[in-house]
């Protein structure tokens, strides 16, 4: 007998013998049980709430990282500067086979990392600060190649300096970049950088620029890895502390742990492609020959219906 024939022959459940059943009572008992379990778990285990990292806190805890990040933004070497869509056109972006979905979606959230994340906030803070005003004027009037050279050289020098300390950087031709980076650190320390990155909005709800900046630095990831939240630590399904995060995302997170996904520059697109296929397979399982017959052969149904047979 074919699987299709078997499926078609499944009789109407309303034709079978019945027994008394109290649906409302079952639901009320289930609801009370869930409420009691929820309140008990909340009372015993509570929930995590690690404070968000403000840009001011970042500047105070890791000033060298802020300076290095601002310099790298000016040099165009950060992740966001070379990201591609939806922020800019600096890269082609990831592909799913021949499908350049990332690029096709376009630059819908434009972010020019050097100007939007560093120069623009500094310009807003430059009033009454002739040193910063001059540094900005020098930077703005320089050719793009000169800007890249200054920032690139200073970035390299910071890497070689002990602890990345700007005060210990070897002498060199860095143009206005050291001044810009130092002013940027001061601006971040005051807390003003946060609001300037959200366009000074009174009700800032879009944190795209502050988060891109924070992610371009090393501090955020260092804190996350300390909380076992790194990408290679099953981070997407974990939560800070020992709390359960999103264990239902285990399969999505799993692919990032194994080759070829763990080593591919197209890992995100590939994982999403695989998960799309698997999800469609789950949803359309009733129509997939072979797979739809699997439960009959697995035999677990004999445990479920053993009392009825």
């Amino acid at each position: 007998m074919s699987t299709a024939t078997r499926r078609d022959r499944t009789p109407d459940s309303h034709l079978f013998p019945t027994r008394p059943y109290d649906l409302v009572r079952e639901f009320v008992i289930a609801a009370i049980t869930m409420v009691v379990l929820t309140v008990a778990l909340a009372a015993v285990f509570s929930s995590p709430d690690e404070h968000a990292i403000t840009l001011s806190a970042w500047a105070k805890a890791a000033p060298a990282d802020v300076v290095a990040t601002a310099t790298a933004e000016l040099a165009g070497t950060t992740t966001s500067a070379g990201y591609g869509a939806p922020y800019n056109t600096a890269a082609e972006g990831q592909k799913l086979g021949p499908l350049a979905l990332q690029k096709w979606a376009g630059v819908r959230i434009p972010v020019d990392s050097a100007n939007d994340l560093v120069i623009s906030p500094l310009r807003q803070a430059a009033a009454g600060d002739p040193t910063l005003t001059n540094a900005l004027a020098t930077w703005t009037s320089a050719p793009v190649a000169q800007q890249a050279s200054w920032a690139g050289d200073y970035s390299d020098a910071l890497t070689k300096a002990p602890d990345g300390d700007p005060a210990k950087v070897a002498a060199g031709s860095y143009g206005p970049v050291p001044q810009l980076a130092a002013s940027y650190l001061s601006l971040a320390r005051t807390g003003a950088l946060q609001s300037e990155l959200t366009s000074g909005a009174f009700y800032p709800t879009d944190q795209t620029k502050p988060l891109l900046l924070l992610a371009d630095g090393a501090y955020l990831e260092d804190q996350a890895r300390a909380e076992h939240l790194g990408g290679d630590q099953w981070g997407m399904m974990n939560e800070t502390g020992n709390y359960p995060g999103q264990p239902w995302m285990w399969l999505y997170t799993f692919w990032y742990q194994i080759p070829p996904f763990s080593t591919s520059s197209n890992a995100d697109a590939l994982v999403w492609g695989v998960m799309a296929v698997l999800t469609l397979g789950l949803i359309l399982l009733p129509f997939i020959p072979g797979l739809r017959a699997l439960p009959r052969h697995l035999g677990v149904h004999k445990l479920i219906w053993r009392a009825s047979r």
Binding site: T10, P20, E26, A52, A105, T205, D206, L220
Partner: protein
């Protein structure tokens, strides 16, 4: 009275009688959207199947409980989320009561997923899509996927370190397939609205559809099970006292029953 008025009155009266008696509109009633909608509802889930007080005798395993338990957990999730919404997005960071409510929201979500996954596996092992139940399976699995998205936006809406980290990591996956250009996980305002409005609405509608389909088609019978043959000349007792008396016979058997089964066993069958 105008002809239009006459038509309206006639249609309503006819529709009421028709809808009540047979569930199928006829004549003037077919022009009434109300009657047609009521007839559609009646066909979708006939009276008596919304809140049944009887169920097939083969429904005996504890695994069946996880459907209604998942629904109960879902309501606790909604309730705790509603209380959080009353206090506002930042309330739980600054209030002990708010933090406790947030904890109930977190743990109710964990329980919801735990129960839903067991329910899903149980239905998989039963191949519960059999007997024209494919749409029931589809609405359930899409609700499962939608729930994952809803929970995900909840983690993004926490406005703490966890949401900072998750958003900066998750953006790469969504951007890689072009979704991030429209669904910006770095925008907590957008994520919060998706979390408290759009996705719960979608999941809620799917859950309602799923329950309607479950009630309409009933619980899938065991593999190869056959209902007892109908008894000619004996009226099906439906949900009446006769049915209750007949099916409360101790040791009621689930088909397939042999053709020569006893008359007593035959009397216990209920053709609904």
């Amino acid at each position: 009275m105008s002809s239009a008025d006459t038509g309206a009155v006639t249609g309503t009266e006819t529709g009421s009688a028709t809808g009540t008696d047979t569930g199928a509109p006829t004549g003037a009633a077919t022009r009434s959207w109300t009657v047609r909608f009521r007839s559609w509802l009646t066909r979708a889930v006939p009276e008596g199947q919304w809140l049944p007080d009887r169920q097939p005798a083969y429904v005996r395993s504890w695994v069946y409980v996880f459907g209604v338990v998942t629904l109960a957990a879902f309501l606790v999730v909604l309730l705790s989320g509603l209380v959080l919404a009353v206090g506002g997005a930042a309330w739980w960071h600054v209030s002990r009561v708010g933090h406790f409510v947030n904890s109930t929201h977190l743990w109710s979500v964990q329980l919801f997923f735990f129960c839903m996954v067991i329910h899903l596996w149980g239905k998989f092992f039963m191949a519960a899509w059999r007997g024209k139940r494919a749409l029931t399976w589809i609405t359930g699995t899409v609700a499962f996927v939608g729930s994952i998205g809803t929970a995900f936006t909840g983690y993004l809406s926490q406005s703490n370190f966890d949401s900072q980290w998750i958003s900066t990591q998750a953006k790469d996956g969504l951007n890689s397939i072009g979704v991030g250009a429209y669904f910006n996980v770095l925008n907590p305002g957008q994520m919060l609205l998706w979390h408290v409005m759009l996705l719960p609405l979608v999941v809620g509608i799917l859950v309602v559809l799923h329950i309607v389909l479950v009630r309409r088609h009933g619980v899938v019978p065991p593999f190869d099970a056959e209902p007892p043959a109908p008894i000619h000349g004996v009226e099906a007792p439906d949900d009446g006292p006769a049915a209750a008396q007949a099916s409360q016979v101790p040791g009621a058997q689930v088909p397939p029953l042999p053709a020569q089964q006893s008359a007593a066993a035959e009397r216990s069958e209920v053709a609904r």
